[in-house]
Symmetry: C2
Subunit: 339 residues, 2 copies
Amino acid sequence: MHKLALASLALTLPLPAAAQEAEEPATPSSVVANAGAGEWISIAPEDLLVMELAPDTQGDPRQVVIQLMSPPFSQPWVANVRALAEAHWWDGTSVYRVQDNYVAQWGDATEQKPLPDGVSSPMATYESVLEVVPVQTVYAREFEAMVRRLVEESEPVSGYAVNPADPDATRPPSYADPYVDFTTFMQGWPIGHAHYPEGLAWPLHCYGYIGVARDYAPDTGTGAELFTIIGTPQRHMDRNLAVVGRVIEGMEHLSSLPRGHGELGFYAEDEEHLRTPIVSVRLASEMPDAPAFEYLASDSESFARYVEVRANRNDPFYTVPAGGVDVCSVQVPVRRVGE
Amino acid sequence: MHKLALASLALTLPLPAAAQEAEEPATPSSVVANAGAGEWISIAPEDLLVMELAPDTQGDPRQVVIQLMSPPFSQPWVANVRALAEAHWWDGTSVYRVQDNYVAQWGDATEQKPLPDGVSSPMATYESVLEVVPVQTVYAREFEAMVRRLVEESEPVSGYAVNPADPDATRPPSYADPYVDFTTFMQGWPIGHAHYPEGLAWPLHCYGYIGVARDYAPDTGTGAELFTIIGTPQRHMDRNLAVVGRVIEGMEHLSSLPRGHGELGFYAEDEEHLRTPIVSVRLASEMPDAPAFEYLASDSESFARYVEVRANRNDPFYTVPAGGVDVCSVQVPVRRVGE
């Protein structure tokens, strides 16, 4: 499979040690592989949810691990999600909607199941006002540099694209975003900011990120019905729905489910047998044998380098570095520990 | 399912006629539903490929319809793809790689099958120089306006984000792109441009778009081994691989396939039974009962309105319009005809 396998080797797999000599161009994977132990941060067990789906048709287990959103974002809904897990509320519910290039959604398809005491739709906003903008991030730095350059030199965006006549030239990568003033990473989460430097910020709907389904406003959803993005990021949902976490392992068990053909990808009446039963959802803090994970600190040097390398691949497969990267294409590195 | 179904009703389904009165805010779907017959363009049968996969486990057929890329882009590879289809070369091959949030790839897993005469890796570039930039597109228009505003008013990007204090204010949507100077649509295809206004342009790797697998440069691939994006757009591939088309129907038959667990998502040795057999691939021009399709002209008024509405949803579900839209989130409307 040599020829076929080369297409994205450097992108997706850690390189063998022999390829990591100083002469080899860095890849996102090699940067992550070389990150120092002190640059990784443990995910607390109370921030991990383990969802056990019914075994697949071969009898193989299907476990999905979710990391809950960090403060200050979406905390009223995250508190509900913890309460629902502690009540074992999702046990016996199902994944009842899978819409191609959009979402897989789970919870109580009957809409009859009573919620635990205290779980209701929060009267809260999807944004947070941050007193201090984390200026250490590459995104914030690059945005400042871009604004300065645009204003002072009156020479706008074109300077930030790769020059095909000089593909090896070093230039600042572009982190322009169609949705917000700028993007950054905080505590390992991709974040949108508006009206810099005032610090209004909110989490984003990238692939594998988990949102709270809701009815029309003022309803904000409870967290009992959750969805994850299974295709193109759905950034138009940002600030319109609460992002409560992301899938960090087992995403394929949701993304590869058969699509529904009712309205909006709900399984139609004659497809209800396709719903995937949820056996249990537990906080890792409740489990004796819970898996443990850590993420690469987004204010670390290795993370900054990881973003930079993603934006300008110059390993042998790529002939034209992109010159920029979309925030949702910077998957925050997460790994299992203790195995 | 009322409560659950509301989450994206306006986004994904044409509204019933009663909801399309003048008082209702436009949605992307309502704009498309109201487009004039003259704004739709037929796709020529020689630009359509019909791929028949083996029936699924229920015995249901799995047909994937592909539209081939329009000139001037990627035409040497498109010619190869037509020759391979005419030779019935893919019959009996398989989908042999499915990597989550990346690609599904198909062709000859044995790497032994001889190619038809004349099919080889083209010595060609992935970009085209366009003499005339299509200034009729909203993207080009908005880019010009943005540049003018940036330079003349020294008031950069922040003005283009939505103002949360005044969410109803009308403002020009943002089409900023992290990868290129600006994006546009030509003949129904999303396109990246650099060095405006010189007109160097190339097609993009959005969800469902089809690229040509290759070895290291100078190899450019033949078109025999193809892949489609099944998750986040992979824009770092732009200008590094040839985009030869997109899936316009039946995408779920590729995106929901079981993921491979060999390197890079190839099916591992003990998973080879998971490969999906390809029964046949035919040009519609060869088929007596071929399906027919048309797309919404990207230089039409309805398309411009469609992009604008996508960028600023103000139907009742959304409380904060995004204020912009990513080029890959503007799916070009395509529909079946004659049924």
